[in-house]
Symmetry: C2
Subunit: 338 residues, 2 copies
DNA sequence: CTGAAAGCGCTTACAG
DNA sequence: CTGAAAGCGCTTACAG
């Protein structure tokens, strides 16, 4: 790769490299005429500063690292889109990586990112946050500022953007109950996932308040888990009249299994999910869910990074409350005859 | 950011920085004892080489740039996932960017990426390829090797992975005709999109071979465009008995609009899409489509980058033929009474 | 307003 | 087998 260097530009414009640097960085007073000459030379040579060299002297990479547990599906797609949008607006690059749910892998990825980014947006698969800090990552002054996604509490002065899963799950459950359902079952997410835990807690609290027994089936956020859960429930004796899945993907899987089994939704069983991923409105019947502003969270995460880099603020915790979206899978005025 | 530098490690191990470098890079003969000492020191200091500095002397960044027209939806999500998978396997980082369909923006992004990556995977929105080369990007010896996605022809020794859209669209159209449909309408993709153009060509050829009139409605790959197209067609006089959308998202939009209008699918109108994005099988009825191995293409694109960097090969053109997937939206034995 | 020079943290011939 | 030194391409006090 033989691109032009700052020296080539300096030579072409008959100035020192210092002057080229100053001109291109828009700082310092550079004579109008000199400036023009430099700019023209840079343009003709199609000069683009070498980012590695620049990073070496400025200690800024203008890059944000993004570490996600997975890159699969609509949720992460939306999140990345939101992050990308804000990154472009801030002139920042994005270094993307996924940890595939393995905390050790996440730690390794974080370490590899260290010198390549100014800040990191990360979403940890499990309660891996502690693990991370135990590994010495994120602590100390030498640490890269981080923005945690989906964790209720920010540690050591880092930003954190969380979803009020408890409130969202309570709202969904209450809606199902208000529509006349009584035997509301819940399909849980991964046991070690904080978001999933809160959703479970929200469901439980709402059932308790209504004086009803809870019914929890295991799941792992995958569409297949939803399918399995639905089958499991149909095989049991006390068939529920409503099924609340901890995320939309599982609800979609469950919907499929229910249809296969000839169970009417919402006629026999009302169905609800969580997230409001784009597909949610296209399945049939459209899915009731708790809408999480995914792209917006991504955008704010990036803005948080940008602010931290710019030295404007350091930490900040924000919680997004999901909005109940009632669709045909669980109509409000349930004509459900029990 | 005060991470340990190679000098710190050298000091701690009582050797020169050259020896540390050699040890960590696994090259050259380093005495067993020295090696152990260096490794221990590096471990204790949690040393990670500064990537910018390393890139400066090796001219390798171990990073692959990915430039996509958009980051929205399942298609790109799958693609990125495939790329990421292979990147991890090859110890490569991913720098992600989207051009939002603007060729000028794409050129700027490419330029900004230049010094940050060893190779670039890019998918151009329009016939922007020519535009790119006209802008001097990708030409010459100083150029970063690129892998083109979705373009039939590789330029200047770059790799290219393409989809045989023509074959896929022909197959879909022939399937619809074979199931007894005669008035097959086509909802086109963006006029300036090469993939979309080929799909249109495939549809046209199949209709011509069958001696039938074509019927093309404009679209742009968005779900909304599919909805609009369906409405447009229902408003017309000659109502088609099959609708073939240039991609799944439009088919899903069309499906929604058809349902709203009380039109039975496939009873009144058979429906087909293209891509086989994950949602395709979850809509009701499940969508007939031409399956494109999206993640696999992403994986191979990355492998192509890796191979080029390693100096193994330079160019290569591969074409993937989509596979016809018949689902309930257009059953083979159509009980369609015309 | 501009230039010479040091320094950012690495790698790699070149000696020894 | 190991070290001293040059060099990668930038930025930034420090002089002038």
């Amino acid at each position: 790769v033989n691109s032009a260097t700052i020296r080539d530009v300096a030579r072409a414009a008959s100035v020192s490299v210092a002057t080229v640097s100053r001109t291109l960085n828009g700082i310092d007073s550079v004579a109008e005429k000199t400036r023009d000459r430099v700019l023209r030379a840079a343009g003709e040579l199609d000069y683009v500063p070498n980012s590695g060299a620049r990073a070496l002297s400025t200690r800024r990479t203008d890059t944000i690292g993004v570490l996600l547990p997975d890159l699969h599906g609509e949720f992460f797609s939306e999140l990345i889109r939101g992050i990308d949008l804000a990154a472009r607006a801030n002139g920042l690059h994005l270094l993307l990586s996924s940890s595939h749910g393995d905390p050790a892998e996440a730690a390794a990825a974080l370490r590899a990112m260290r010198s390549r980014v100014d800040s990191i947006i990360l979403m940890l698969p499990q309660g891996g946050e502690d693990l991370l800090f135990a590994a010495g990552i994120g602590a100390g002054t030498g640490a890269v500022p981080m923005v945690f996604l989906g964790q209720a509490a920010a540690k050591g002065g880092h930003c954190s953007l969380a979803i009020d899963n408890y409130a969202g799950a309570s709202a969904i459950t209450e809606h199902l109950l208000a529509s006349g359902r009584r035997r509301v079952a819940f399909v849980a997410g991964p046991a070690d996932n904080a978001d999933a835990g809160e959703r479970l807690r929200g469901y439980r609290a709402a059932m308790r308040r209504a004086g009803l027994d809870e019914r929890v089936v295991d799941g792992d956020f995958s569409e297949q888990a939803g399918r399995d859960a639905a089958r499991h429930i149909l095989a049991g004796q006390m068939r529920p009249d409503a099924l609340f899945c901890a995320n939309d993907m599982m609800a979609i899987g469950a919907l499929d299994a229910l249809k296969d089994a000839g169970v009417a939704v919402p006629g026999d069983i009302a169905l609800a999910g969580f997230d409001d991923i784009p597909i949610a409105r296209y399945v049939s019947p459209p899915l009731t869910t708790a809408a999480v502003p995914i792209a917006e969270i991504g955008r704010q995460a990036l803005e948080c990074c940008a602010a931290t880099i710019a030295g404007r603020k350091t930490d900040q915790q924000r919680t997004f409350t999901p909005q109940l979206v009632v669709r045909a899978s669980s109509p409000t005025n349930s004509n459900h005859a029990d």
